[in-house]
């Protein structure tokens, strides 16, 4: 079919629209419009409270009195405050111990649930229970379990003749720390276990068969196949787990309110304590703000941990 070349070459009459009209038609402008609602919500509900918190940390605001800017005075004060440093220590102890145990037990549970077990679906649902129960509710349950007079643990041990007197779970500083950590572990395991289980199920069965034929023992299969293939998911899970644990508030607040002798005060509970019941909004905000560097460090750690490893990068096919 012959094509009339001249006709094709003929310049089309393009109308020159006005500047405003062109702007409104541009792709960038359009995307800006579409982004607006989401951006507004983010700014309003995320950035504003965060900004307000940071600002409060630089003021001497109290409840009922909007403060004035006092620079780093709050932070200087906190720097010399032994209770603040105790709370920092507690937060680290709480986060490190609870996260390590949650990871260990969670991985173990995930490995067990990944096998063909009878009643597998029910078992998985049961494992999730601690995670779905509201924290306050499970904290109250633990409060009873740890009660100085009615503790079921103490009662059982005494009845079995292992102990002669009841354990003071929440009254003794060391016991109290161990108790709140145990409660946090109980609550946090399901998240780790179920997420790692999901990760385990993405590992093809044939890799294990290949490893069996290659002569790998069960431990070697875990060491050389399961674990390396699970590392990307472990990085995500543990980042979240660390963030949740580091900022924990509810468990401590219901169980001990930071006591005894501030032995279980975390940065979050101390911040609340100073700001709301104590009325020192500026100081409380400063404590909360001083958590940010630690949280950023955890996020950066995971960011680098999460970077796709070389073996995950796409091939040419």
């Amino acid at each position: 079919m012959a094509v009339d070349v001249n006709q094709r070459r003929a310049p089309a009459a393009i109308e020159q629209p006005g500047r405003l009209k062109r702007l409104s038609r541009s792709k960038g402008m359009m995307s800006l419009w579409f982004m607006m609602p989401a951006a507004t919500i983010l700014l309003l509900f995320l950035a504003y409270p965060l900004g307000l918190g940071v600002w409060l940390g630089f003021t001497d605001a109290k409840i009922g009195r909007s403060g004035v800017f006092i620079g780093l005075e709050n932070y200087a004060w906190l720097f010399d405050d032994p209770v603040f440093w105790l709370a920092v220590f507690n937060t680290f102890l709480y986060t490190v111990v609870a996260s390590i145990v949650k990871f260990g037990l969670g991985l173990w549970l995930a490995l067990i649930l990944n096998h063909h077990l009878p009643f597998k679906a029910i078992l998985r649902a049961v494992v999730l229970l601690p995670w779905i129960v509201p924290t306050v509710l499970s904290a109250i349950a633990f409060w009873w379990i740890y009660d100085a007079q009615f503790s079921i643990i103490s009662w059982t041990l005494v009845k079995l003749g292992i102990l002669t007197e009841y354990i003071d779970f929440l009254g003794d500083p060391a016991n109290a720390r161990a108790s709140v950590i145990a409660a946090n572990i109980w609550r946090g395991i399901p998240f780790v276990a179920i997420t790692l289980l999901a990760g385990l199920q993405t590992i093809p069965q044939s890799l294990y068969e290949a490893a069996v034929i290659d002569g790998a023992s069960p431990w070697q299969r875990f060491r050389y196949v399961t674990f390396p293939m699970l590392t990307p998911i472990i990085a995500v899970v543990m980042t979240f787990s660390v963030l949740f644990t580091f900022t924990d508030f509810q468990l401590i607040y219901v169980l001990t309110r930071g006591g005894p002798l501030n032995a279980t005060h975390l940065m979050a509970t101390l911040s609340f304590q100073r700001a709301i019941p104590g009325g020192q909004l500026g100081e409380g905000a400063a404590i909360a703000v001083s958590m940010i560097p630690f949280l950023l460090a955890a996020i950066l750690f995971s960011y680098f941990g999460l970077q796709r490893r070389r073996w995950q990068q796409g091939g040419s096919d």
Partner: protein, 356 residues
Amino acid sequence: MASVGIHDVRKSFGSVEVIHGVDISISDGEFVVLVGPSGCGKSTLLRMIAGLEQITGGEISIGERVVNLVPPKERDIAMVFQNYALYPHMTVQDNMAFSLKLAKAESAEIERRVKEAAEILGLGAYLERYPRQLSGGQRQRVAMGRAIVRDPQVFLFDEPLSNLDAKLRVQMRTEIKALHQRLTTTSVYVTHDQIEAMTMADRIVVMHDGIVEQIGSPLELYDHPANMFVAGFIGSPAMNFIEGRVARDAGETRIVSADGVRLPVPQTLQAADGHKVVYGVRPEHIELANGAGGVPAEVSVIEPTGAYTLAFVKMADAEVCAMFDERHAFRPGETISLAPRTDLVHVFDAETGRRL
């Protein structure tokens, strides 16, 4: 290298028996292909040889040793999986070295063997790459390399070419065959593709519904299929089947189809007059009839491929495919006269499906 013996092997999953007593003896250095449609039990049988599935009944031996209860790693076998099963987080080098590393071989020995295997397979340039960075064919080669470095008694292949495109499949099957000619290690190869089976095997085992239908060399199966299943499974395009009865009159034996068409058969056919049979003839064994004596056929579709011409026709009340080396330009609806090559037709018992 070793022979492999499979004696009355059975396999049940729960109460369902999927392999009903299979006997195969594979000699040392032989390349045996297990072929059959999906669900015929060929992969299960291979996995039992590998030790990945328990054996419900019977006996499997590798060399002199009965391996029913021997764990896979002590069977001295290597397996190539359909999806390659390469460890994604290990380089090509580490993938191939993994079994030797687990066996605590010396690092110089590991390196030597990996290098050797990589050279055989042309993988030398890719040793530092990860499986994701390789094409399908290269991954397949790595999977074979992983098997080769172990220098096993038996190679097991579980549909290794199914994930490759058609062109690469043809190339790789030649490579695997060449590799076997070079290494002469006993190999058991599972596929559902009869062309792969025909081109690669020393001997083919045709399986169907958990039993062995026939064992033989590729040409034996092609020339003398034991029953209708093997006849229909081996060969492409598939053999044509026409139902009919044996008719003996005036000292001449013929097969008469339901609509009365008389089909020529060898006069040595051992079957009673009136016996119900199935007449089988391969597309490539049908010729155009010269003059009288042909069977009339109505053309429905013509498929020219360049190398040969396929004609789908209606003949003796059946859909029949005929294959001609020459190029014909028949029109649909045209009636042509066809002549099956009498010496190459097959007659099967209609009830049992057995060859007569």
